[in-house]
Symmetry: C2
Subunit: 606 residues, 2 copies
């Protein structure tokens, strides 16, 4: 019943996607682990059931709890009432201890596996989105092996004896640059293929846009459908106009918001970051430098939070089609903030010093600080919070015990989980979950290593080390430190892939600029064959970036063939039955109206 | 019957796409002009019927005609037999005289309408592809008004009095360049929207990929479907591997072909074109120049034909998924040939002289020659051919009449149409139709006016004049000079839109180069703020080009909502009935096997 109201569609055994009905349960395909529904589907069913308890009597009901008394109004949702009264503190999914333990040993503590992860089990425990994130992280780390090895080789050769041969460096660095750009282009395309292969394995047909249709427009479709022809035509026309108006209005609104964010970043954040970088360079005393950095870090933390909150507010006014679209819109805006914050200082140093050595030092510092400190921070902070909360509750309980002895701690596991922090984003808890922070970190790292690749080839080796630990610490974090996250229906990493692609394009441009600097050490800025070659190379790489997706499609042929097969089968099976019912219906109506169809010159005798 | 074998799907009245069955004819939506099938669908039905006449008896039948005798073998197609025997000369669709006359007056001879065309009537007479071409041509011409007016204004001001103010020119030309690039970007995106709106109006759901599924793999799907589970799993795995192998093999083959064509263009055509351009510049005697051009034109015609034939051969070996994909592959290859041939000379002149005036002269010459002469050529040649053929037949008939008088000319209209040339491409008659030549001309014109826009803003005005005449002359050509073309199922202009977009990207680069030359008239090639600004502008424009499609989707919201509505309705209607049948079938099988489903702890009593 609940499933029917929720309109869950499932894959059937003959390969079609149909609406689920309990009576026909045997017709449906099972999950890989044998259960009927995935964790995400079950979660939504539970939620639907709990939230569906309403007072269906004619009068309000009086409820009593702990001495208090309150009225449950007609048609009111029980859970909402209890939440507002403070009796139910929070509804959240609990960890499944046996499965959690199993995952802990087969996944989080399996250090010697490097990038291998039991993705299917992660999927059935945490849902699609988290599993897709870990699949992405694993594939990214595995693919990083190639540039890491290449960069390490270059670095070893460089430290060895060829540092002074400028001509060799001029040959080797462009080769490195071109090969890592090609690597990044191929990575993003092959990730798309892997993603759709994963979804095919989990029997998810990714139709996020399917729920768009009527939301923009509050029209009743049955009325449209059954209306007579002239009325229907007029209806269609009005509908079309409303859609067009809504479409452009929504687009303008989103454009205005984007423009606002971009403008405020350029007008407020850019001068601030540049001012910091400049003062840092100008100051000579180390103590002042240290103080300045402390003030800067404090200020930037605060500013970023304010920016994030403004973005969340802006997005709520936008007319985004569904939750995932809204989350994507937030991702773009917040990434804009972080992009400026992370890279503008590096660009400034590079421009000011025009020296690869200084740039390298800045990069090493940034990479180490961001990766090591950030990892420590993000892993220890929630743990400390949790410990403190637990400590406070325990001391409170102890006090209570002293006053009224003999109370039993019967709900300890649930209580313990309640104390755990929830897996949420540092910005905008209600829209995004904790994956936001993890993916942001990954994207910033990718940008850092790619955009300055030709200045610091060793960065890839740092990144791979960081990511291998990241896989296990993230897993540990999810399994031990947080409440079990609410599953989300999104089946891709969404906007983040676009950001990775944007960073690839940016890195084509920045690396070419770096190479031009390297080539033109005297600062003559003359267009010589060398510089012209760099320009040409840039254009060719940009062409490859935008042309490659035509060469390798996003969906492997077998996934597409599968999809097509399902569609064709569905059509074959549906066709006859439905047609018969429609034409029978029409016929009876037409017979009532005594219309003789002249064009066909025949009449059915029935 | 024929329709059922052909697997025609049609839009039904409740908005779903279903397979057509004659018994349920009333359930289906009609065409805008009231007929049940579109011209294209009818054509394929006719063809299926004619080609389906086979000898179904046990023995061969002896047929007699004109004194000759031949055997119609068992299972042989009659039409094929007659064609090989030379009795049936050709099967082609005839013009519908009343409709043709009506179109002639409302479309081809309606000169004062400028870009307005009765697209719906063209669609119902010629089918989707030709109607889409004319819709594209009309929209392109209408959109050209803006740059044409802008360019004309610039030219008038320029000729007036500001030719010497270099600084003003440096300001005005970049503005012109940026605005026409933005114009081109918006045009290509809005054309996509217009195209999908047209298809929605004509009730065509463009699922060209739907017929891919099983073609790659000669597997019987029913066997896969009904097999037992372990067997099926293994089957799926093998299927997947075969698909992967085929996918990459096909891709490699296509890549090899593309590489072959590109290499041969670079190694053979480029030196040839450059040699011609160079000799032309070096020669001083006008007579030698004239002779050289004549030889060049002759040679290039021949070479292009050879290149086209080679491309057609290459494509036949490719594993393209369907006819339209194959046609697209051909389009890319042949366009490569023409691209070199049309622009490399202009580039050479521009590079050699580094003067806008010379470049302008070359461009005017090329535009006039290509547009005026080509139009004359393509319109007069088929007419002359047709006249000559008619003349020959007439004189032959006259001779026959003399020998055996009293013969009646009973099939004159059919005979006259048989004499008309067919609407075919100059390259590869069997793959592409005459639209190939028209679209090629349009693309080359677009490239010429866009790539050198900042050197010759007036070109847009030339182009708009040319296109307004092109609309009517093309219409006239189709209606009076050719056999009625066979309708094609393609519902977009296909690869040509990609070529237009490629030319837009190219024009960003070339125009920036031109502006840089203009800026740096002394040839110092120093990176000054001006040149740096041009480079930055180029990058920003490239970003806009690739980002714009995210901002404005290819499908208007109302078309998408319509599509979604249909999909949802189809699911709602299908769901229950099919499920019941599947689970009933499964149940009966399982009951036979005496399996007790323990997980649900219940059993149906039936």
């Amino acid at each position: 019943m609940a499933a029917a109201e929720l309109q869950i569609t499932k894959q059937t055994r003959i390969g079609m996607e149909l609406q689920f009905h309990w009576e026909e349960v045997k017709a449906f395909e099972r999950q890989p682990d044998g259960s009927l529904f995935s964790w995400c589907e079950r979660f939504y069913c539970y939620q639907h059931l709990i939230r569906g308890i309403k007072n269906k009597r004619q009068t309000a009901i009086t409820l009593k709890y702990d001495g208090k008394e309150f009225k449950w109004e007609v048609g009111e949702c029980l859970l909402q009432k209890l939440e507002t009264e403070g009796i139910v503190k929070r509804v959240f999914p609990l960890h499944d201890e046996t499965k959690r333990k199993k995952l802990l040993y087969s996944w989080a503590l399996h250090w010697w596996d490097f990038t291998n992860q039991p993705i299917d089990e992660i999927y059935s425990y945490f849902g699609t989105k988290i599993a897709v994130y870990f699949a992405f992280l694993g594939m990214y780390t595995r693919w990083l092996l190639f540039p890491a090895a290449f960069g390490l080789t270059l670095q070893i050769i460089n430290f060895g004896y060829v540092l002074e041969f400028r001509s060799l460096r001029l040959l080797v660095l462009p080769i490195f640059f071109v090969s890592i750009i090609l690597w990044a282009i191929m990575f993003s395309q092959f990730w798309k293929r892997k993603n759709s292969a994963l979804l095919a394995r989990w029997q998810i047909s990714y139709s996020m846009e399917a729920d768009v249709g009527y939301k923009l427009l509050g029209m009743d479709r049955s009325s449209v459908q059954s209306a007579e022809k002239p009325v229907r035509k007029a209806h269609i026309k009005i509908e079309k106009e409303v859609f067009q108006r809504n479409e452009w209005f929504g687009r303008l609104l989103r454009f205005r918001n984007d423009a606002l964010v971009i403008l405020s970043i350029i007008c407020l954040q850019l001068p601030f970051e540049l001012a910091y970088a400049h003062t840092y360079e100008v100051m000579e005393s180390d103590i002042i430098k240290f103080g300045l950095t402390a003030i800067y870090l404090f200020a930037i933390q605060y500013l970023t939070q304010v920016g994030g909150k403004i973005s969340v507010k802006l997005i709520k006014h936008e007319d985004n089609e569904n939750k995932e679209k809204r989350a994507d819109s937030l991702v773009y805006k917040v990434f804009g903030l972080y992009f400026m914050q992370s890279y503008i200082g590096v660009f400034y140093h590079a421009l000011l010093h025009r020296s690869f050595l200084t740039l390298r030092q800045v990069l090493i510092l940034r990479l180490l600080v961001s990766e090591v400190l950030q990892n420590l921070w993000e892993n220890s902070l929630p743990y400390l919070k949790y410990s403190y909360k637990k400590y406070r509750i325990r001391s409170k309980k102890r006090q209570e015990k002293k006053s009224s002895s003999g109370k039993i701690q019967f709900s300890s596991r649930v209580e313990k989980e309640y104390l755990k922090p929830s897996y949420s984003a540092s910005i905008g808890e209600e829209i995004e979950d904790g994956l936001f922070d993890d993916l942001l970190e990954l994207a910033l790292q990718f940008g850092m290593i790619m955009m300055f690749a030709s200045a610091f080839p060793l960065a890839f080796a740092f990144a791979i080390l960081n990511n291998i630990t990241e896989i296990r610490t993230d897993a540990l974090k999810l399994l031990t430190m947080f409440k079990r996250p609410q599953p989300r229906a999104a089946a891709t990493i969404g906007a983040w892939l676009n950001i990775f692609q944007f960073l690839t394009v940016m890195s084509i441009c920045t690396n070419c600029a770096l190479l031009a600097w390297l080539y033109d050490e005297e600062g003559r800025w003359k267009i010589e064959p060398g510089l012209a070659a760099i320009l040409v190379m840039e254009h060719i790489l940009l062409m490859i970036k935008f042309g490659f997706s035509r060469f390798v499609p996003e969906e492997p042929a077998w996934v597409r063939a599968n999809r097509m097969k399902n569609a064709t089968q569905a059509q074959d099976v549906c066709s006859k039955r439905i047609l018969r019912s429609i034409s029978a219906e029409k016929e009876s109506r037409e017979e009532k109206e005594h219309v003789v169809e002249k064009e066909f010159g025949m009449k059915k005798e029935e």
